[in-house]
Symmetry: C2
Subunit: 392 residues, 2 copies
């Protein structure tokens, strides 16, 4: 007997990528596929003395953590008090709550193409229909945004302006201000997803677009997963006054509140003198790994793809010079114990797609990076019919 499921369930996307990612976790695979931070750089989790976290807690989160978050947002220019901060079960939950609050079947959403694939999946569940906005080196084109808003009247615009996943793009300040102006004029809400902000390897414009908004409603999604430990599943959102109460009630019906040991540990760690040193060390190591991958790519991908070394975040995004079945390439790479992410699932809409791959540089052991990139360069060079350059 087959149960009758919701229309929503019929939209659940294929688990292909999920299955692939599981394969990449088998021992011996050099994986550039996931977005995993380096476990050896994560802080020790010391829960000693954090006993007062066993009872049910408030849906909004621990007051002390909300205050710290609000203070930090204020330094970024976002006018926000602790009353408008909601602690979430990872920033992924923030995306889900936004979908739940805004999206009906067929609701239009504007977002970057390419964008974070789990956002596409989470919003698609609610029936969002996507229109992609192309990315240049400096971000999206504000005029194209204005036209798309007029054309589609979206429920909201979802952007990752700082060290974007997957492209690594970091919006210029000029574009940030221009985007805010367009949204203020149109009165369209902004969902700003900002998980990579702390992973900056060189100076870059990083003022949140939310800080420039005057009138439009907004939700700012923040993460501790990249700079501390994702296994804690603690993220947060801040939202403008009109949106906050609905998000809290949806949080409550989703899981009552986020786990308290993780919240208390984070409060303690963020307040301690250990945090700055930890963050500086993590950023330094990631910068070295980025540079190592850049060197490996220059050696093995010249003529095969175009890319920029990202100023922050966790990924290189390679636009391939020739069309290529990147999924087939992945299957072949896995037979040689190397994994990467095909670009295709990061595109919300078909018309903006181009052949690409995403390479993570934070997780693979540095000594294996050159070896893995050499394998991929050979494979993708062959598949794309190009001639991989061999300067070695």
């Amino acid at each position: 007997m087959k149960p009758q499921l919701s229309r929503r369930a019929a939209r659940l996307t294929s688990s292909l990528i999920r299955d692939i990612l599981q394969v990449t976790q088998r021992p011996g695979v050099i994986s550039f596929a996931g977005g995993l931070p380096a476990e050896e750089l994560m802080p020790d989790l010391d829960f000693t003395g954090l006993d007062d976290c066993r009872q049910y807690g408030p849906s909004e989160g621990e007051p002390a953590l909300r205050s710290l978050i609000a203070q930090n947002l204020s330094t970024l220019g976002i006018a926000c008090d602790a009353e408008h901060v909601l602690v979430t079960s990872g920033s992924q939950q923030g995306i889900d709550l936004v979908g739940k609050l805004f999206i009906d079947e067929g609701s239009p959403v504007l977002l970057e193409a390419p964008t974070y694939l789990a956002t596409i999946q989470a919003l698609a569940v609610y029936g969002a229909e996507f229109q992609g906005l192309s990315l240049t080196e400096d971000g999206i084109d504000p005029d194209a945004l204005r036209r798309a808003i007029v054309d589609r009247r979206p429920a909201f615009v979802y952007l990752i302006p700082t060290f974007q996943n997957p492209s690594g793009c970091c919006y210029s300040d000029e574009v940030r201000r221009a985007v805010a102006e367009v949204l203020d004029e149109a009165g369209v809400p902004l969902i700003e997803d900002d998980p990579y902000r702390d992973l900056a390897y060189e100076p870059a414009d990083r003022t949140p677009i939310c800080a420039y908004l005057q009138r439009a409603a907004w939700v700012y999604l923040g993460s501790f997963s990249k700079i501390t430990a994702p296994g804690l599943r603690i993220g947060y959102l801040a939202a403008s006054h009109s949106l906050f109460p609905g998000l809290v009630r949806l949080k409550q019906s989703s899981d009552l509140h986020s786990n308290r040991p993780g919240q208390l540990w984070l409060t303690q760690f963020l307040r301690s003198d250990k945090f700055d040193a930890h963050a500086a060390r993590m950023v330094g190591v990631y910068r070295d790994r980025r540079d190592a991958m850049q060197a490996a790519l220059l050696r093995h991908f010249a003529g095969i793809a175009q890319w920029r070394a990202p100023a922050g975040g966790l990924f290189f995004w390679l636009r391939l010079n020739a069309d290529c079945d990147t999924l087939a390439a992945l299957h072949e790479a896995l037979t040689r114990d190397v994994a990467f992410m095909p670009g295709e699932p990061f595109f919300p809409a078909g018309n903006l797609r181009y052949p690409a791959v995403r390479l993570n540089f934070s997780h693979a052991a540095p000594e294996q990076m050159l070896e893995g990139i050499a394998v991929l360069g050979e494979l993708l060079g062959n598949l794309a019919g190009g001639t991989p350059s061999r300067r070695s």
Copy 2:
């Protein structure tokens, strides 16, 4: 500028009860309102040695914990391997995932009247339309269930057969078997919510209805919050094969996975020789508190309400003898620093409502219980126009 929200957002229910519960947490209030376990009985959270929980983890949950859960379910008669267990961010998330998987706007759902109010809220967000099933001492009436299924063709039937919240009802084995037969015949999925199973104060039929199903699809929702520490936010679900893959994907898009420190601590604690002694102690203390509340009620509520001392769980459910505005009674009780839950929000459908209150007996300090019950007896007796008995 007012953002355009989803139709779902318009269904967010009033935060009245939520606001009331916050008031009840102020110091000095004797609260029978929430469903809070007694913090002083919760196990110490010792995370020493649980270091391997910082990285992202599997959406399904930690393999060792899933195995323990599956073993336990097998002893209850539910044929279930670890592959069909999903660790959730509290069992509340299981309810939300079920709503997400099954419910479109207008989808009919059958459930007990009264039932867990946060289930009503969580499923209403997705647009469920409820039909309530009356509870007798032994559970719902299987014939009424059969008729309601024919009449409404529900997406599923949601039941809390063991120490039901709020009524305390525990289905007889005969009713459990008869309900399973009706569901098997009709091919309607069962969602069995079972958070109170471990809190049994006297012998009672507790075989899950899922264990009696032969053909119908099912989801079994389990909790660790009542027997360990709700602040961890770790619960679980097990589901029949046809439903499990969709639930995992919805879990992934909701929050990627549940927090790992909580999962690892629970695995260690459930495996340890401490667990049985802890559970026995907790159950013993709760039994004493139940008995203390029963004694206080016999003294102060005779003539005002009808009730049975529950065989398990956390609540007394008092059916008032006369109609009474229980919300007004709550406001007055709060001025005297006593809190309880009005019965009204526990009813999914208007036609089955009757005046009632729910009293929790696990949280208030035992020495305050008699004092609080005396205040409530006086208040409700006056409001209902009855004559509270004063045998003191």
